[in-house]
Every structure is written in C-alpha cells, then in structure tokens.
C-alpha cells in the first residue's frame, strides 16, 4: 500500500470544521435542554393524570423509540412541507432531535418516578407537605437524581447521533467533513480527524454533565454520571 497520509490539507479548512463543531454543539445543547424539559413534563403528566393522557404519552414514546432517527428526520424535513410547514435544515434537525430525545427522556424519568417508594410519599404527607411540595421534593427531584447517569448517556448518544442530520443537509460537523472530502478527496484523513473531534466532544459533554450533576445533586450522583456508559433501554 503506497498511500501517504496528508493531514496538512485540513488546516486550510479550519473555518469549515469550526463552524461545523459550533452547529453540532448548538443543536445538541438546545435539543438536550428542550428534550429533557419535555421528558420531565411528559413523564409527570403521565403519572399524575393517567388514563388517556398516559396512553398517548406511552404511544408517543413507543413510536419514537421503535423507529430510526434518520427516518424521523426525513419525515420532519421532507414530510412536513407537504402539510404546509416548511422548515430549514437546521430547524428540522433541532425538531427531530428534540422529538427523539423527549421520548427517551420520558422513558428514563418514568423509570425513576416509578422507583420512588410509596412510604416516601406518605412520609411527605405526614410532614404536612402540600401536594406540589411532595411532587417536587419527594418525587421528581429524587427520581431525576436516580436516573441522572442514564439521562447523561442518552444525551451523549444524541450528540453523536446529530451527525446523522448531515443526511438532511444540516451543516454540522459530519457535513463539514463531507464538504472538505468533496474538495480534497482526502477522505480517510478527514474522517479520522472528525472522528477524534467527536470523541473529544463526547468526553467534554460527559464532563460538563457531571459538573452539572454535582451542582444539582451532589458528588455521588456526578461520579456515577461520569463513568456510566450508555444503558440499553429495553
């Protein structure tokens, strides 16, 4: 094999790579915030109201979790304009990621809520807590603290999956790589470099989430969040 690696060409395309990294970070952080918030709301209304609401939330979660992210993106980006909603590639990516992550967060937080013991709630009642106080201090916050490592893993998986958005022409990091490849034909070098950037982003995101976990829930939870690898949700 007489192939010489030339990583030097990458230097000329620094701007493309940086703008790709920036968009990856932007859509990932936004979808994590929105998806996690939606997950908290959906898992809460599901457990509070039950009945038809629970059925609808569960159906949403199952539909999203049993279809590929790529196809969800296609429906948002190519399908919605047919219904009169035209969205740009960046917005479509953000919508798709948020819809996807909301379903997974709902499922993870639901497991946390169901793990809260009845006796805890009774203890809260005995202390004269209002229903809202019980919900806040006894149910939702401990539930999230309990599943925080699993949530973090899911957030990292979502950041990595954002690379798939390049298929609907969102100009994030994977799309930058494809662009530089089309200009230079140095495919292997570029994909090695971009893969390493993703690896660094994943480690950085994990560290950031661990810091947030330490601030929110204390050191013990944060340490679990740092080391936990993606759990496969059944």
């Amino acid at each position: 094999m007489s192939y010489t690696f030339q990583f030097g060409v990458l230097a000329q395309y620094q701007d493309q790579i940086l703008s790709g990294i920036w968009l990856t970070i932007k859509i990932s952080v936004l979808s994590i915030i929105l998806g996690c918030a939606a997950g908290i709301v959906l898992s809460s209304v599901r457990s509070i109201w039950g009945g038809a609401v629970r059925f609808l939330v569960d159906a949403y979660v199952e539909i999203i979790r049993n279809t590929p992210f790529l196809v969800q993106l296609f429906i948002v980006y190519f399908g919605l304009p047919g219904l009169g909603l035209r969205v740009g590639a960046d917005t479509a990516a953000l919508i798709g990621m948020t819809i996807n992550l909301a379903a997974y967060s709902t499922e993870i937080i639901r497991a946390g809520i169901e793990a809260v013991h009845k006796s805890q709630i009774e203890a809260g009642e005995a202390l004269g807590f209002t229903r809202f106080q019980i919900y806040r201090h006894v149910i939702i916050v401990p539930a999230i603290a309990k599943v925080y490592p699993a949530l973090c893993s899911q957030f990292v998986l979502m950041m990595l999956a954002s690379s798939i958005c390049s298929a609907i022409s969102t100009q994030e990091l994977a799309a930058s790589a494809a662009f530089i490849e089309s200009q230079t034909y140095r495919s292997f070098e570029i994909y090695i470099a971009v893969t390493l950037i993703y690896l660094a982003l994943a480690l950085a995101l994990r560290a950031a989430l661990a810091l947030i976990g330490m601030w929110l829930f204390g050191r013990r939870v944060a340490r679990r969040a740092m080391t936990a690898l993606p759990e496969v949700q059944a």
């Binding site: 979790r65 190519f78 990595l160 690898l229």
Partner: protein
C-alpha cells in the same frame, strides 16, 4: 412522462428492502456478538493491560458516531485496495459498532454473577476455562438476554444509517421511492411503520424477558 404514486408496487419494494435491513442486522449481531464476546472476556480478564485495552476499545466505540465508523470502514476498505460493494462496508461498520456496545452489556452480565460463584468453583479446582464454561457463563447468559434483545432494536434502527453510503436497505428504498413519487410524508410514514413492525415486538420481548428474570426477586 407520468409521475408514479406510492402504491402496491412501491410498498412491495419497501418490503423487499426490509430483507436487507434484517440481513444487515443479523450480520451485525453475529459478527458484533463474536467480537463483542471476546472484548467482554478481555474486559474481565485477570491481566490489567488486557482489561485496559478492552475498556479503551469500548470507550472509543461508544464515544464516536456510528456514521463515522461507517465512513471510516467505507473509505478505509477502499484505501486498502478493496473495491467492495457497500454491503461489506455496511456489514463491517455495523459489526464494529455492535461489538462495542455488546461487550459493555455482557461485561456487566459477567460481573453480575456473584463473587462467591467464582470462589466456590475455584475451590473445586476448576480451571478458569471450566469456571466460565460451567459456572459463570450459564448464569451470565440468562441475565444478558433482556438487554441483548433490547440492543437488537438499536441495531435494526441504526442499520438505516448505512443508506448514507448508498446501501439499499429500507431507509434508502424509501428515499428512492420518494425521488420517483414526491410523496415524502406517505412514503416515510410507511418506512417508519415497517421499522416499527420489526422493532416493537423485539422491545416487548425484551421487556417480557426482563420481567421474567426479576419474577423471583422482591420487586
């Protein structure tokens, strides 16, 4: 020129392409299973350097996008001088991807076998191989069934990513039909429904196995 609409023939083409999705899933699970099992054993080995190497492998695979594994296999294979059809790059990348995750799942299952089982079998003068063969693995496999089936769902879904390098499986077939019919909403809903038909029973099976495994315990 008449514009085609999404009809019976097109749906037939989707069903046909679903076979490739399933074939790719099987390749990934078998190949990734063999490689992942080796990594899981290395991850629980007695030699520390072996453990560290296996842990690094898992961390790296789980820290990079599946799409990048796919591109690196695709361009890596052609760089090495192989002019292979996309099925090979797709199969290789899905195998590598699955091995990283299965190794970590199975490591957890091996370590979930109580320490006393190791000690008891050691006191019976079993070799390490005998310990794995007769004591640890039979128990670990039982524990591993629910998460492994759950991961199979992820593999089915992630095979859709191989459409990006032009491998014609279900997602790519949907794109091709959409290019001919311009009915994206209908086409991709049908594609999603087919994925759902494959994935949902697997998800439910994983849950059933999980419940059955915990039937004996207190919860």
């Amino acid at each position: 020129m008449t514009l085609k609409t999404f009809g019976f023939d097109q749906f037939g083409f989707l069903l046909f392409s679903l076979q490739w999705t399933i074939l790719l899933t099987l390749i990934a699970l078998i190949g990734g299973g063999l490689l992942g099992f080796a990594v899981a054993l290395a991850r629980t080995a007695q030699l520390k350097p072996v453990r560290i190497a296996a842990a690094t492998y898992i961390q790296v695979i789980q820290g990079i996008p599946v799409l990048m594994i796919l591109f690196l296999s695709y361009y890596g294979l052609s760089l090495a001088g192989f002019e292979l059809p996309p099925l090979f790059a797709a199969g290789a990348s899905m195998t590598i991807y699955a091995s990283g995750y299965l190794a970590e799942i199975w490591r957890g299952c091996i370590q979930a076998v109580p320490k006393q089982q190791w000690e008891a079998s050691e006191s019976l003068a079993m070799t390490r191989l005998q310990q794995y063969r007769y004591v640890v693995l039979p128990q670990a496999i039982r524990i591993s069934l629910p998460p492994t089936v759950g991961f199979a769902v992820q593999v089915v879904k992630n095979t859709s990513i191989t459409s990006i390098i032009g491998f014609v499986e279900l997602a790519r077939a949907g794109q091709l039909i959409n290019n001919a019919t311009f009915q994206p909403f209908r086409v991709f809903l049908a594609v999603a429904a087919l994925y759902f038909v494959v994935c949902y029973p697997l998800s439910q099976l994983s849950r059933l196995l999980e419940r059955r495994l915990h039937a004996g315990s207190s919860r």
